[in-house]
């Protein structure tokens, strides 16, 4: 039976209103909705499709505070078999490398055949955790995957390049695939799935249980402050009733000589 790991992150909901904290350290995230990172839902779907095709166990793992358990429950509701929730106060300020170390510690004795991650997260947009995890596990990886085909011990993938070009590459298993959005159509959790998820195992692990300590995950990358980008010379902004806006736009389009 194949063992598949899907790493996911809980991030602010796409439609959440985001504001910077007054000290600029990060966004205000006390009272906003969260969801599974978009890229990671595609990673999970790719794993669940392998499970649908035959014998496979799909394990989901996340590094995140208490609230992140909800993301794991959702993943279990979609069809994952069990979940690993890694958290420790010492992880609150860590960086991608610290997260990769925690995930690697949780994964190393499991001998997964395939590890799926999203290409990046929609919050920090770093795109580092997947390749780092692969390096720490000693397995090959490939990023921006838009197609997978599993054959014998290998997996053939298409990797997105620039301008619509695709690279076709073959990796031996075990390997890590960091998937791009749009690779598949992501399923929803069914009501039955959500009911079943409540009985599925969700293991909590802190750093000690993973054989790590705070020093091992101390961040090397630190954020000094975040801020709304300064508006450049940028756009002349118009507001007002739709009719007025439309006639101003028509004036501009005429000026450009386009009709």
């Amino acid at each position: 039976m194949k063992k598949i790991l899907v790493c996911l992150k809980q991030v602010p909901h796409k439609d959440a209103r985001l504001d910077v904290r007054s000290d600029g350290s990060w966004i205000q995230d006390d009272n906003i909705k969260f969801e599974i990172n978009d890229y990671d839902t595609y990673a999970l779907e790719e794993a669940l499709r392998l499970k649908d095709q035959g014998e496979a166990e799909v394990v989901v793992a996340t590094v995140g505070p208490e609230r992140a358990a909800q993301a794991l429950r959702t993943a279990l509701g979609m069809g994952a078999d069990r979940a690993i929730h890694i958290w420790d106060d010492a992880l609150a300020e860590t960086d991608g490398l610290g997260i990769a170390k925690a995930l690697a510690a949780a994964a190393k004795d499991e001998n997964f055949d395939i590890v799926f991650t999203g290409l990046m997260s929609d919050d920090a947009n770093c795109a580092v955790t997947g390749p780092m995890l692969a390096e720490l596990l000693g397995i090959p990886h490939i990023t921006a995957v838009v197609k997978t085909e599993f054959k014998n011990g290998d997996v053939e993938v298409e990797r997105e390049l620039e301008g619509g070009a695709l690279e076709v590459a073959s990796l031996p298993q075990p390997c890590l695939l960091a998937v791009q959005t749009g690779i598949n159509e992501v399923r929803y959790a069914s009501l039955k799935g959500i009911m079943q998820a409540k009985k599925k195992p969700l293991d909590k692990k802190d750093l000690g249980e993973l054989g790590l300590d705070a020093a091992a995950v101390a961040p090397k990358l630190t954020v000094e402050k975040i801020f709304v980008p300064p508006k450049g010379a940028g756009a002349e902004i118009i507001e007002g009733p739709a009719d007025e806006v439309a006639s101003k736009l028509v004036g501009k389009i005429k000026e450009l000589g386009l009709f």
């Binding site: 947009n125 390749p131 390096e135 990358l221 756009a235 450009l256």
Partner: protein
């Protein structure tokens, strides 16, 4: 004295302009500049980089580097780091760069910051600025310990245009890879070519559902005699086919007029349309990054503005 290692990139047999942008960034920071170039039969390109400001260029030339693989390139980069002990490593944030850079960072247990568009020197420490939350915010970052690794957004600054004596040195390295490259498929031609369109009206997630492309956007497209484009989330959701996608992984366009409707402006979209002659953006969020590249912005409800605009265009044309 600090030392910066530039990892150059070759694309279809030529040095990428992004590499010369790294040269400019490294020279601005001061200190020593050394470069690494990885490929097969690339002696002349190594000399070219040396003459274009790359300083001492280490050339990792091996048939195993014919196609990019993370495994092989990481070996060359680690060997160069061993030889040069750089304080800072700059890599372009391209599909190859973002694939290999985190792997090298993990192998070296080094801090990494990705997709930066500005590097400033604060005393002897670099400070990196990059986008977060798909362009909604910027962040300033620092890295503790060396080497520091940064991937740099292509096109974020002008390339270095000076010339220099430089020098070239062979870097002896193996190029083993577990991953094998089978081939490259180029973009499908035809179908829906946006690169020659005079006017493009593109829709994003703000259109809310697929029917609205036909019901709300199409009348404006027809009134203007334009072509329809789309942002990535729209294509990912299967609302429109991939050949409608404008952006770094879709089509790079430069029409006389680009109208972005309900598109927030993630960097990968901006890369594909920011060189349009004139950009109008319509979005309900006044902080949407699309307004940074727009010439004219409308903060408002597209479901009111677009039908009104289609009607006004038709009236102006006497249709």
């Amino acid at each position: 004295m600090s030392k910066t290692l530039i990892v150059g990139e070759i694309q279809q047999g030529v040095l990428r302009e992004a590499t010369l942008e790294l040269v400019a960034a490294a020279r601005e920071l001061g200190g020593d500049v050394v470069s690494l170039l990885i490929g097969n039969g690339i002696g002349e390109l190594g000399e070219e980089l040396a003459k274009k400001g790359g300083g001492k260029v280490l050339v990792a030339d091996n048939p195993g580097f014919e196609s990019y693989t993370a495994d092989a390139h990481a070996q060359a980069m680690r060997k160069a780091v061993e030889a040069e002990s750089p304080d800072l490593i700059l890599i372009s944030n391209t599909p190859n760069g973002w694939d290999v850079a985190p792997k090298v960072a993990a192998a070296l247990d080094a801090g990494i910051v990705t997709d930066v568009f500005k590097i400033e020197q604060d005393g002897d420490e670099p400070v990196f600025t990059r986008r977060l939350f798909n362009g909604k915010f910027n962040g300033r970052f620092r890295i503790s310990g060396t080497p520091r690794i940064a991937t740099v957004q292509p096109g974020a600054r002008a390339p270095y245009e000076g010339s220099d004596a430089g020098s070239v040195e062979a870097l002896d390295v193996t190029a083993a890879s577990r991953t094998k490259v089978v081939g490259v498929k180029t973009a499908e031609a035809g179908g829906h070519d946006l690169t020659k369109a005079e006017i493009i009206v593109s829709g994003g997630r703000g259109l809310a559902k697929p029917e609205n492309f036909k019901e709300v956007l199409q009348p404006l497209v027809e009134a203007l005699g334009a072509q329809m484009g789309a942002s990535r989330p729209v294509v990912d959701a299967g609302w429109l086919p991939h050949n409608y996608q404008v952006g770094s992984s879709g089509q790079i366009v430069q029409p006389k007029l680009y109208i972005a409707v309900g598109i927030s402006g993630a960097i990968q979209h901006l890369v594909g349309m920011k060189n349009s002659n004139y950009i109008i953006a319509i979005n309900k969020d006044p902080d949407a990054p699309i307004f940074e590249v727009a010439d004219l912005g409308v903060v408002g409800d597209l479901f009111e503005v677009i039908p009104a605009l289609a009607k006004a265009v038709n009236e102006a044309k006497g249709n």
